[in-house]
């Protein structure tokens, strides 16, 4: 369903993606792991068309997202939900308004239906009591939960999670993972999760891909990745300082 073909991207002459190719099947959740600064978030932003590559393609159901313009690009993006690293909640809106925002802007729903959907979303992430608060009044974990509710409120077919648990304590991390798993059970979306939570993240994904030096090194099930003999994969999984991965 999502196919990344030979994707290249450089910033100021520095190559971040060097021919990334990857395929994610419909209804599958893939964990994208790798060193910080090696292009995982950049790859996610290409998949939704927020960044344009130097060359290469991202096909969503055989449609190249970079060939789409205007209404067709809008239509394609409506199929996505994106959980940003910092939540990306709108500062000037309350929690309720943040979640209602895409519904108000992109659907013809009445206020009563919007309220019902928002309260359902807030209930799912256990944030009903924070409906009237502003993002600035929330902790990091609470922001992530609200952002998750906002990303899911349009019932997306494809969910992209950019480090959904970075900077959170272990209990909140488990809570976010459980929320992602529960929402997957409900919506059966196709998902990509950029994460450093190893091995916790393996519990909620079908496959894992390791991105290193701008290329996908190995793709496999969590069990295959954990027992991989590939020196880069085994170094990354074990967290060893010595090995083929250059530490900056």
């Amino acid at each position: 369903m999502i196919e990344v073909r030979n994707l290249y991207k450089s910033f100021n002459g520095q190559e971040v993606l060097r021919g990334v190719s990857l395929r994610i099947e419909r209804g599958e959740i893939l964990a994208l792991i790798g060193m910080s600064g090696f292009g995982k978030s950049v790859l996610l932003k290409h998949i939704i068309g927020l960044m344009r590559p130097d060359r290469g393609q991202v096909l969503i159901d055989e449609q190249d997202i970079f060939a789409l313009r205007g209404k067709s690009l809008e239509g394609m993006r409506r199929r996505f939900g994106f959980l940003f690293q910092g939540g990306a909640l709108f500062d000037s809106l309350t929690v309720f308004e943040n979640i209602a925002f895409p519904l108000r802007e992109k659907t013809g729903l009445g206020e009563a239906e919007i309220k019902e959907k928002v309260l359902f979303g807030l209930d799912q992430v256990g944030m009903t009591e924070a409906a009237g608060k502003y993002p600035g009044e929330l902790s990091g974990g609470m922001k992530k939960r609200v952002a998750l509710a906002r990303a899911l409120v349009m019932d997306p077919e494809i969910m992209l999670f950019d480090e959904p648990t970075t900077g959170l304590d272990p209990i909140t991390t488990s809570l976010i993972h459980r929320l992602i798993h529960c929402s997957y059970e409900r919506l059966k979306f196709t998902g990509i999760i950029v994460s450093h939570e190893i091995p916790k993240i393996f519990e909620i994904v079908h496959r894992v891909a390791l991105l290193n030096q701008g290329r996908i090194v190995e793709v496999g099930t969590p069990a295959q990745i954990q027992t991989s003999a590939h020196p880069v994969v085994s170094q990354f999984i074990s967290g060893a300082i010595e090995g083929p991965i250059e530490c900056h």
Binding site: L50, F82, F84, L89, F90, D91, E105
Partner: protein
Amino acid sequence: MTLSLLEGMGRMVAFLGITLFWALVPPFRVGQVIRRMRFIGVKSTLIILLTGAFTGMALGLQLFYTLRRFGAESMLGPVIALSLLRELGPVLSALMVTGRAGSALAAEIGIMRLTEQIDALEAMALNPYRYLIAPNLIAGIVAFPLLASIFNVVGIYGGYVVGVKMLGLGPGVYWGEMQNLVRMKDILDGLYKSLSFGVIVTWVCSYKGFFTGYGAEGVGKATTEAVVLSSVLILAWDYFLTTLMV
């Protein structure tokens, strides 16, 4: 160097073109425009009242004694009014709003860029030019002439207080000569200037915020550049318009 300067200018012009396009395409975001008018206009009223009053009073004082040398104190009213309506009102009010609202606009959009709020808009299939930038431009076009009008009225009353109440000029002379010599064209020329300054400030400040650099330093730099460039453009564009209007 020249090439990158040209590229930057081209990007700025393209940014304005895209924003104008989305400002003219319905559905119009009236609520957002009103919120931005409050941010740019209403919240700048106090500073406009203060600067307008003191500018008018200083003008009254300076011009009264200057005109008295030529025995032309009776011209105080029209000279103050013409100075404010055609030149000082639009320019000074625009510079004050640049300092107050333009800098905040650049910083706000810059922070939205850094915290991925603009990316979030795009990810939700919402066009940031339409939802974020165009309302600022429309609000600037409406708010700047209104603020300049407030500046002018308060300034003219400031001149009245000094010239008539403090220095003893007859009120009939102050207002009468003003009515005789100020034409509607003088008022309209000033308002056209303000309108164009509204475009310049919201355009430059939105652009600088939209393409901010990384981190707090990037936002700080974008804000400074927004204020400096807006101010220089206001003065340069004012000279250009004045040569067309005189």
